[in-house]
């Protein structure tokens, strides 16, 4: 168990590519942190720097009060779970889990106890003598977890551990990993590009974009108060609708091609903005009333519990997540955008405008 602290971490690859820009992050003891971002944004690079698999170009990395920049991966008291499991193909499940302990010169009895304990926890008891090739994807992932657990490390690192599994198994393993981590109380850093995983598993989410932290916050904060256009459109499925607009000093929002759609209570900001609204916050109706706007309906996706109504507002693409059972998206449609659900971002920097 340990807290982890990243101070101004930088990574420049030997080929000159600047993959991680000055990253600061304080991870509390026992916290489950999820690094999320589009592929190529530097999540793995950051995780591998913490693991010691990539050199740290500059900055400081501490794991539990130890400065570990120059330590070998084996000496950092970490364990890592890889996307493709990285099990030793020629070793049995038992030996896969025991290998790291043997290298640490731990007594046979202790190794046996640790491996059997982990196998118990992961329901792997019946498979200890099998080779990885004789296991299903989910079981392999469990073995990889077991290999991490037996070491009782201060820090778990996961690099997209579930992306090779099918959707159903992924949901199941997601819950399993989270429960296990809670039980063990081990500080964890988990990398994924899947925002559902990020939202459901994290104590705190770190959203990365192009090697830079966009926002750090609890899943609720990230969802309800996205700090930037990037976070707003990356987190949430379907993504948040974005409309080009201008804010005049008094708080009135004027959307390009639509006109005024309402006014904010108070904001000193004025100028071009992007106005965002989550698809589930939009209300559709067949009658023009109040401030609602004509919605050009294009097609509907049936999801069962809800329907996604795709179309345009003004000339901008717009999606409505329709929960109203009785509402049939046909004929003339009007969308109302409740002002209190709007997110306003500066058009040029993409930063959230305090409302």
């Amino acid at each position: 168990m340990a807290h982890v602290s990243l101070k101004a971490l930088e990574k420049i690859y030997p080929n000159g590519y600047h993959a991680v820009h000055g990253t600061d992050l304080e991870i509390q003891d026992g916290e489950f942190i999820v690094l999320v971002g589009p592929s190529g944004c530097g999540k793995s690079t950051l995780l591998r720097m913490i693991a010691g698999l990539e050199d740290i170009t500059s900055g400081d990395l501490e794991i539990g009060d130890r400065w570990v920049n120059d330590l070998d991966p084996a000496d950092r008291d970490i364990a890592m779970v890889f996307q493709n499991y990285a099990l030793y193909p020629h070793m049995t499940v038992y030996n896969n889990m025991a290998y790291g302990l043997r290298n640490r010169k731990i007594s046979k009895e202790d190794i046996d106890a640790a491996v059997r304990g982990a196998a118990d926890m992961l329901n792997l008891n019946d498979y200890l003598d099998r080779r990885p090739s004789q296991l299903s994807g989910g079981q392999r992932q469990r073995v990889a977890m077991g290999r991490a657990i037996v070491r009782e490390p201060a820090l778990f690192l996961f690099d997209e551990p579930l992306s090779n599994l099918d959707a159903k198994l992924r949901n199941q393993m997601r819950i399993e990993i989270r429960n296990l981590q809670k039980k063990l109380g081990t500080t964890s850093v988990y990398v994924t590009h899947d925002q559902v995983e990020a939202m459901t598993m994290a104590d705190r989410i770190v959203v990365l974009n192009a090697g830079q932290i966009e926002q750090i916050g609890t899943p609720a904060e990230i969802y309800h108060q996205p700090a930037s256009v990037f976070v707003a459109s990356f987190m949430g499925a379907p993504p948040m609708n974005m409309l080009e607009a201008t804010l005049n000093g008094a708080g009135a929002i004027e959307v390009a091609g639509l006109g005024a759609i309402g006014a904010l209570n108070s904001t000193p900001y004025s100028g071009p903005v992007k106005v965002g609204i989550r698809p589930e916050k939009v209300k559709l109706s067949n009658r023009q009333e109040g401030d609602n706007q004509p919605f050009i309906h294009e097609f509907t996706e049936e999801l069962g519990a809800a329907r996604l109504v795709h179309g345009r507002l003004g000339d901008m693409p717009f999606v409505v997540n329709l929960h109203q059972e009785d509402m049939i998206p046909e004929g003339a449609l009007f969308a109302s955008l409740p002002v209190e659900t709007l997110h306003v971002f500066e058009a040029d920097t993409g930063k959230r405008v305090a409302v």
Partner: protein, 301 residues
């Protein structure tokens, strides 16, 4: 009841008729059998001739049939000292050949695995360059560099030693190339998992890379063993003492009786020795065949 009986007797008839028409299969098999026969015929002739005494060959050439000297010839070939010095028998040559074949194969595998390991896993400067240098030695087979090689071995006083016989042959560009390709296909994450598990370079090599390369090693072993076993030029040059002769090099000497130049060469014994020479490589291939195919076609990852 009756109808079922008739249909039961009818069915095989139809099947038989249909099977008769499969001319492709017949032709395929004829070609294969003919090919095998063609390849095996000389071997068969040799085996048959090895059951005759030397006079039969001297008079009538190769024999097609069986005679009564089989056991005697093989006994002579293996155990009767002969040659110029009259001290070398088939068993000595067999063991020399085995030492050459094994030393050659094991040496080549060890050296090329270690070279490939260094090239693939250690980011030293000029790694790729070194690899291509090694690779270009393919252009310099032993036959090309045989004089300088001989000079070196001779100046070290290594003629007529196993060291001199084996060491100059074991540097292997081919082996290094195959192992390099194989190591490069081992997932990067495996190396990283091992690093996190506290395995240093030597441990990783022995605990993980070598077991993973098992089938590859087996395939290389067969190729290299047969290649080493069949060496002729280098042993001929390096071994002058008959006690160091290998089978491939020694057959000729043993059938000629130097003590009496008028005597008829021991053809029957020579044929027997030829068969003995062929056996170990054949056995090795038969034994390791499934591994060999596995090693070349599938990767155990």
């Amino acid at each position: 009841m009756k109808s079922s009986v008739t249909s039961a007797t009818n069915l095989p008839k139809i099947n038989r008729r249909r099977r008769l028409v499969k001319w492709e299969t017949v032709i395929d098999h004829s070609v294969l059998i003919l090919g095998s026969a063609l390849m095996l015929f000389p071997v068969l002739l040799t085996i048959m001739t090895s059951s005759y005494d030397k006079l039969a060959f001297a008079k009538n050439g190769l024999q097609f049939g069986w005679s009564d000297k089989f056991i005697e010839n093989y006994n002579k070939a293996l155990f009767e000292p002969s040659g110029f010095s009259g001290t070398i028998d088939g068993m000595t040559m067999l063991s020399n050949s085995l030492i050459l074949g094994l030393g050659f194969a094991v040496g080549k595998i060890v050296i090329s695995m270690m070279a490939a390991y260094a090239i693939v896993y250690f980011r030293f400067r000029f790694a790729t360059f070194s690899f291509w240098i090694i690779f270009t030695t393919l252009l310099l087979p032993l036959e090309v560099r045989i004089l300088p090689s001989y000079e070196v071995i001779q100046s070290f006083g290594l003629t007529n030693t196993y060291t001199g016989l084996i060491v100059p042959l074991i540097a292997s560009a081919t082996g290094t190339f195959f192992f390099r390709q194989f190591f490069r296909s081992v997932p990067e994450e495996l190396v990283e998992a091992a690093r996190i598990d506290g395995a240093g370079p030597v441990k990783f090599f022995i605990d993980i890379l070598v077991p993973l390369s098992k089938t590859m090693i087996a395939a290389m072993f067969i190729i290299m063993f047969v290649f080493g076993w069949n060496q002729y030029l280098w042993p001929t040059l390096i071994t002058t003492e008959e006690g160091m002769f290998t089978l491939v090099r020694g057959i000729k000497n043993i059938i000629q009786s130097f003590t009496d130049s008028n005597a008829i060469p021991e053809y029957g014994v020579g044929m027997a020795l030829t068969i003995i020479t062929m056996l170990p490589p054949v056995l090795i291939v038969v034994f390791f065949q499934s591994w060999f195919v596995k090693g070349l076609t599938e990767s155990d990852k």
